[in-house]
Structure formats: structure tokens, C-alpha cells
């Protein structure tokens, strides 16, 4: 057990696993020299540096190459840097990686991890700020991971590398330096949510940036005696339907948070599942808060306008217990 930043928790697992599994390769743009790569953030042991591959600026091409390399027996970690760029690699991720096992009748498998940082919070502007997890919920065959803590980052990334399905591994760009306790050799089972804290009055379901905001809102409402059960999904696909249902049956009041625009996102899927499973026990309709149905502007002040705030979340929790 040790306290680590999310970025370091990730690097350490990558380094350990690359030493053990000689088929893991790490493919990214400008990875050798810069502060984002071996020159800084990506600290990896010397002995694995020959499997760190510099890619040209051609996301569609090198993502497809990583799919092909995975079919050929390698274990690529394909770093797309910003989650928005998954749109350039959409074919490789959704049309090939997620579907090759099926269409080849289980003869091809694609053990590739697509890595990217998502979300708002650094004034990245329109094309460097999107939360993309909802885009990939409709890709059966793909696993979508969204860890919020150092422990979950280490545990889910290790789990991703220990299995054969393609994974989209989404870190939040505001959380890379966030610290947390990480147990040694930690593995998180895929598709299992984390009950972050137990409560009796309201269930809140949130991950990453929205979880951080929810935790602040929860502290405020607890002062007035409202007891909140906080659940972090950890994986968006597959998601822990049973954990959501167990909590919803206990509290009868559910709030689901989502950073991306509200319409058609993961919160809608979770809400439908909870309503199907817990209709008799729900005291109020399942509530959702999400990003505004618009695009992300430049500038931190304007950015805040399109995302739920701590105050919005607090008001929504209070509304559920009225």
C-alpha cells in the first residue's frame, strides 16, 4: 500500500507489466522525447524502452496498425492522448477491434488498450475537452473503463492487460496528479462498481470529474442529515447493473451524473436499467444531471456554464428527499 498520483500509479503498472509480458508495446505520438513521454510523465524502466514506439500524427493509421498487431499476437497500448481523437480512430476501435472476434467466429482476438485523457477542466477548447465514454457504449465487444482514483486506475489497467478483450481506457485530464492509496498488486474486477460510501437516503452514481463535484455536494447535504450512498461505476461498458439496483432498492431515490451532454448518454442507460429493475421501490423518478446539450466553449469560465456545478448537484440531491 502506498500513496501515489494517478499518473504514477498508471506508469508503475505499465512498467511492471511490460517487464513481465514482452508482447506489450506502447505506441504514441512524440513519446520518446517530450514531457508527455519518456522525457517526463511516462516514466518506464530502461529495459522496456525498445517497445515504446513513436508514431506519426496519423491516429486512424496507427490505431488500425495496433488492431492488426493485436490480432498478430502483440499486446498494444495505443495512446491517443486526448479522448476527442478517438473520433479519428473510430473505425479501428468500434468497427474493427470491438467486432473482429465476432465476425471471424472467434478466430481473431484483439487484446489492445486504447488510452486517452478525457473531459473538461483545462480550457482545452472544443476538440480537447470532450468526455467520450457515451460514444462507445454502443460497441458490444469493447470494454470502456473510467477510473476516478489512483487505486482504480492501477487496478483497472492491470485488469485490462490481463485479459483479451479490447479496452478503451479513459483517464480524466484534471485528475492525473490526484493522489490516493494504492494497494500492492491491486486488480479491480471488470464490470464491478465501487460503493465509495454507504448511505440510506439517496443514491448518487458518478465517476471522475462529476464524482469529485458530487463528493463536495455530499459534504454539504450531510450537514443537514441527508445520508448519501455514492457509487462509482468504474466501467461504463459493461456496467454493474446489480450494484445500481441494490442501492436503488435501498434508498428509493437516485441521482445519476454525467459530464457529457445529457441526451443519449450513459445516465440514460443506467436510468432505464434502474427503472426496469426497481420500479416498485423507487420513491421518485430517477434523476439525471448532465452537460448542457451544446458544445464546449473555450475558457474555464465559459466551460463551467456547460457542465453541472457543485451547487446544481446539491440542489438535485435536496430535491430528491423533499
Amino acid at each position: 500500500m502506498a500513496e501515489k498520483m494517478i499518473m504514477n500509479a498508471f506508469n508503475e503498472v505499465l512498467g511492471e507489466e511490460m517487464k513481465k509480458d514482452k508482447d506489450i508495446i506502447f505506441v504514441a505520438e512524440s513519446v520518446k522525447g517530450t514531457v508527455f513521454g519518456l522525457g517526463g510523465m511516462l516514466a518506464l524502466p530502461e529495459e522496456v524502452h525498445d517497445r515504446v514506439i513513436d508514431a506519426p500524427i496519423s491516429e486512424a493509421g496507427f490505431a488500425a496498425a495496433c488492431v492488426g498487431a493485436a490480432v498478430a499476437g502483440k499486446h498494444p497500448v495505443c495512446d491517443l492522448m486526448f479522448a476527442d481523437f478517438t473520433s479519428l480512430a473510430y473505425q479501428a476501435i468500434v468497427m474493427e477491434a470491438a467486432k473482429l472476434r465476432f465476425v471471424t467466429n472467434n478466430q481473431a482476438e484483439v487484446p489492445v488498450v486504447f488510452l486517452a485523457c478525457q473531459g473538461q477542466g483545462i480550457s482545452g477548447g472544443l476538440h480537447h475537452s470532450n468526455n467520450v465514454e457515451g460514444w462507445f457504449m454502443q460497441a458490444p465487444g469493447l470494454v470502456v473503463m473510467t477510473p476516478s482514483t489512483a487505486a482504480d486506475t492501477a487496478g483497472l489497467f492491470r485488469a485490462a492487460l490481463h485479459q483479451k478483450n479490447p479496452v478503451l481506457f479513459l483517464l480524466h485530464k484534471t485528475q492525473l496528479a490526484a493522489k490516493g492509496e494504492v494497494p500492492d498488486d491491486y486488480v479491480v474486477p471488470i464490470g464491478k462498481a465501487d460503493v465509495v460510501q454507504e448511505g440510506t437516503d439517496v443514491t448518487v452514481i458518478a465517476s471522475q470529474y462529476m464524482r469529485a463535484y458530487a463528493e463536495k455536494a455530499i459534504k454539504k447535504v450531510e450537514k443537514d442529515g441527508i445520508s448519501v450512498e455514492l457509487i462509482d461505476p468504474r466501467t461504463i461498458l459493461p456496467y454493474d447493473r446489480e450494484a445500481f439496483a441494490a442501492s436503488a432498492k435501498k434508498t428509493g431515490r437516485v441521482l445519476i451524473l454525467q459530464e457529457s451532454p445529457l441526451t443519449g448518454g450513459p445516465a440514460a442507460e443506467f436510468s432505464a436499467a434502474i427503472t426496469e429493475d426497481c420500479f416498485a421501490e423507487l420513491k421518485k423518478p430517477v434523476a439525471r444531471l448532465g452537460g448542457a446539450n451544446t458544445s464546449i466553449p473555450y475558457g474555464l469560465g465559459s466551460e463551467a456554464a456547460v457542465m453541472p456545478s457543485v451547487a446544481d448537484i446539491e440542489a438535485a440531491i435536496r430535491d430528491l428527499v423533499k
Binding site: S58, A92, N105, G141
Partner: protein, 323 residues
């Protein structure tokens, strides 16, 4: 290269097999006995036989989409015909059909329903070959039309920049579906694309099987040593884009008549063998009859085989491996 008489006869047998395979498919498809769209390579036998006959044990191929009879030869013709009919006996369980196939034992694919994607994924196979020092090369094929996909440009650059063991061949038959290649491309000599990305290249006659073999033999030897190259083979497409495509609507058919009269690779090989007294008319006719019957037999076998069950299609093991 030096060829024995038997080598020449084997080449003729392959050319005849490829021709008869396409003709049998055409016959069964146009008479309604065989379902689905077909994209024949009638007239292209020199290209497909020339390339596939140069594959050695350690090599891998992701071909362009008209080399189908030779794909069938790698997988077993009955299993390939069953696959393109969506039958359970197909080598991908009937789930792929003609466009998304993969066969590990045959060192083939994966292919894709998106033109250009299979070629980009093949770059990954070549990367694995380089990293694992595999004794072999990766042959990647595309048509003149596919050459214009953006991801193909990215793939060519990756091959050049990462110095991958690849021979990339372009099957330039002058038609990108129903558009003249030169109307939708800025080049007439497609091999210049490779030079744009830093890969040595050349343009050759794809209707002569011995030319194709010589060119591929040399290029593949270089690739196995880690030197990529690109070869453009100019050929003629005899049919429309797909079987039933009324190509008279967009094509000057004298082009097709000329090719059939002067560039028929099966006829050329036959005349060569007769001229050199390597075989008699009767012996060559016997080869044609045998190949025709073989293709008919495999077609009947595939046609009579069962469809997949719904349970096969809905098998969850096809979606996720155990976590």
C-alpha cells in the same frame, strides 16, 4: 527465374482453376442458385496466381478483393464458397461473408468491409513481423480506387517510417467501381503514390503471370530483409464492378473486347505451352475439365451445407472473452 515444364503446367493449372472458379460462381449466381453479391476477377488470373504462387511458408497476405479464387485455394474452396454464402461450414462460420475474413493457418487477413482498413491493419501484422523477427514478409494489396482512402496514405507512411517488411501491390484495372481511375485520381501512374511516401516503386504489366511472379519474387525477397516496396500491376477488369453490374452504361466496351482478345492470361499461357510443346491440346483440355469439375463439386457441397443456427449468431462468447 528458371522454370521446369512441371512448373509451367502448375502455373497453367492455377490459372485455369482461378478462371473456372470465377465462371462457376458467375453461372450459379446469375441463375439464382447462389445468393449474395459477387465481385469477380475474371481476366485478372495472372495477377492473383502470380502473387499467391510466390508466398512462402513464413509470409502473410491481405489481398485486394478480386483475388477470390486464390483466397479460396488458401482456405479450402468449399469452406470459402460456404463463407461467401453465409453458411455454417464457412471458414468464419458464415458470419463474415466475403469481406471480413480471417484465417490464421492460411496466413490470411483480417479483411474489412471498409476499403483501406484491412490494409492499415496489415501494417500491424508487419510491425509484429519486425518486432518478432519473423522469417517472412507481409503482402498487402489494394485496388486503384482504395488507394485514395486517407487511411491508406497513413498506412504507406507508417510502412516507410517504421521500415516494415512489406510488399504493397496495387491492382490498377483502370476502374474505381464505376469511375474511370484517372477521373478520380490525380495520377495515371499510381506507383508514384509510393514515392510520395518514401517507398521505392514501379509499374508493371499485370496480365502476364511470369512478369508478376518475377516482380513479386524480387520484391518479397527484399521485404523479408526489411526493405519495403510497392508494385503497381496494370490489368483489365472484364466484368462490371459486381456480377450483374450493367457496365455498358459507363464503359466503352471495346476496351473489354480488346483485353479478352489480346490480354487473356489463361489463353496466353495455353499458347505458350503449346508452342513449346510442353503439353498437347488434349492434356490442357483435360486440366480445364478437371478444374471445372472440382469447382462445381465444391460449389454443390457448399450450397447443400446448413445455415448457422440463431444460437450460433447470438453466442455471447463471440462478443467477449472471459474477463
Amino acid at each position: 527465374m528458371a522454370y521446369t515444364n512441371q512448373d509451367y503446367l502448375d502455373i497453367y493449372t492455377d490459372l485455369t482453376y482461378a478462371r473456372e472458379c470465377s465462371l462457376v460462381i458467375e453461372e450459379y449466381a446469375l441463375s439464382g442458385r447462389m445468393p449474395g453479391f459477387q465481385h469477380p476477377g475474371i481476366g485478372d488470373e495472372a495477377l492473383m496466381v502470380g502473387i499467391f504462387s510466390e508466398l512462402q511458408e513464413g509470409d502473410w497476405i491481405v489481398p485486394e478483393h478480386r483475388a477470390r479464387p486464390m483466397v479460396g485455394k488458401l482456405t479450402g474452396l468449399d469452406k470459402w464458397l460456404a463463407e461467401i454464402m453465409g453458411k455454417k461450414m464457412g471458414f468464419c462460420g458464415g458470419l463474415s461473408g466475403d469481406s471480413h475474413f480471417f484465417n490464421k493457418e492460411a496466413h490470411l487477413g483480417p479483411y474489412s468491409g471498409f476499403l483501406g482498413q484491412a490494409q492499415a491493419m496489415a501494417v500491424g501484422r508487419a510491425l509484429q513481423y519486425k518486432l518478432d523477427k519473423v522469417d517472412g514478409c507481409v503482402v498487402i494489396g489494394c485496388g486503384d480506387g482504395t488507394l485514395n482512402e486517407g487511411v491508406v496514405g497513413e498506412a504507406l507512411n507508417l510502412i516507410a517510417a517504421w521500415k516494415l517488411p512489406v510488399v504493397w501491390y496495387i491492382q490498377n484495372n483502370g476502374w474505381s467501381i464505376a469511375s474511370k481511375a484517372t477521373d478520380v485520381t490525380g495520377l495515371t501512374d499510381m506507383s508514384q503514390r509510393a514515392q510520395g511516401y518514401g517507398i521505392p516503386s514501379g509499374t508493371y504489366d499485370g496480365t502476364d503471370v511470369l512478369t508478376v511472379k518475377e516482380v513479386m519474387h524480387e520484391a518479397m525477397a527484399k521485404a523479408r530483409k526489411g526493405e519495403p516496396s510497392l508494385v503497381e500491376f496494370q490489368t483489365k477488369r472484364w466484368t462490371g464492378h459486381f456480377l450483374g453490374d450493367p457496365q455498358e452504361l459507363y464503359r466503352d466496351m471495346s476496351e473489354v473486347e480488346y483485353a479478352k482478345a489480346n490480354k487473356d492470361p489463361v489463353k496466353k499461357m495455353r499458347e505458350f505451352l503449346l508452342a513449346h510443346k510442353t503439353a498437347t491440346e488434349e492434356e490442357l483440355d483435360a486440366i480445364t475439365a478437371a478444374q471445372h469439375q472440382y469447382c462445381v463439386d465444391q460449389m454443390e457441397k457448399a450450397l447443400q451445407s446448413p445455415d448457422p443456427d440463431p444460437a450460433d449468431v447470438l453466442n455471447p462468447a463471440l462478443v467477449y472473452a472471459p474477463f
